[in-house]
Symmetry: C2
Subunit: 192 residues, 2 copies
């Protein structure tokens, strides 16, 4: 375990792969293109990643980490749990229009085989996000926190999908308002 050929090699390859995957999808990108983009040799790539599957899994895990960074960013910027949920929707609504959609969702659609590692990793991510959002909702005085968390997840998925395909319509902007309405309604249901 003492040998590390070059410190940032793995990250550089992953950068190149992620860029291409985000842009054109996984199936459409060949290993050679990633090698060209990374400016490395074939040997090095296959030393870091035994196969394309492992590379895709690493890409998904990195995308999941990017999501976590958004969550922690929102949580440090905003204190009130009910505001955090709305801000998460706002964050996604801001990125969606210039993206091709959620990397995890897109890759999940590209690998429908339940036995494929990419399918499993993305599915695990979805479950984890659901728990994240439910946890956040539990810190609000909502009548049914789980339902609130799930509704926010539904809105986030809807905004991501819609924004990335239909672009920044007035509709996508209204999603933040929708999330606010949903949060208020759940809290009002607890009080009333």
């Amino acid at each position: 375990m003492a040998r590390k050929p070059a410190a940032g090699t793995r990250e550089r390859i992953l950068d190149a792969a992620a860029h291409l995957f985000d842009q054109r999808g996984v199936h459409a990108v060949g290993m050679q293109q990633i090698i060209d983009e990374a400016g490395c040799g074939k040997q090095l790539l296959y030393r870091e990643f035994p196969g394309k599957d492992q590379l895709v899994v690493a890409y998904l895990e990195r995308s999941a980490e990017a999501w976590d960074r958004i969550v922690t960013g929102v949580c440090t910027a905003v204190d009130a749990p009910e505001d955090r949920l709305v801000e998460l929707v706002r964050a996604v609504q801001g990125m969606a229009p210039n993206s091709r959609g959620c990397p995890l969702r897109n890759t999940h659609a590209e690998f429908p085989d339940p036995d494929h590692p990419a399918h499993q990793v993305s599915l695990r991510h979805f479950r984890r996000v659901r728990e994240q959002l439910r946890d956040l909702a539990r810190r609000t005085p909502a009548a049914d926190p789980d339902r609130l968390g799930d509704r926010i997840m539904l809105i986030i998925d809807g905004v991501y999908v819609n924004g990335s395909t239909l672009g920044s319509t007035g509709a996508a902007e209204a999603a933040v308002g929708l999330a606010g309405d949903v949060v208020r309604a759940e809290i009002a249901a607890a009080v009333g």
Copy 2:
């Protein structure tokens, strides 16, 4: 135009293709598998569909027609425009858990190249659905019908994506309630 080898040939091939595409995704299904499933010769398939691209396009158009059938079904079953919107959400929420998600959305994710016909056909469908829902919303006394239509579309996409991956959670069921809340809120905004 006089020769039609067998009346239902095209439909039978399309049935087989749609079944396999829905189940395993487009990329994962080879032409040979479709031929086997349809029980026809290769010649016949390539006479009806010059290539896989055309077959995929036909599959997408048929999926879009299936959506239209759902819309007209709801519209004949329910008269009030505001109820129609909610019932559409309920219809999707009912199909999502046992599906692999929206065929149009999945195929769209499988063909990120904007020049690919499959990409264009699915994108056109999304725009058309947006107009459908806005038209429906315009028949309600909503304050901002376009926004209402777009919000319903957002909920539909969210329910479809969530239900197909996470299964039938209490969350997916709550989507119908969410849609109802959204419709009522928009109408209340017009009155108030």
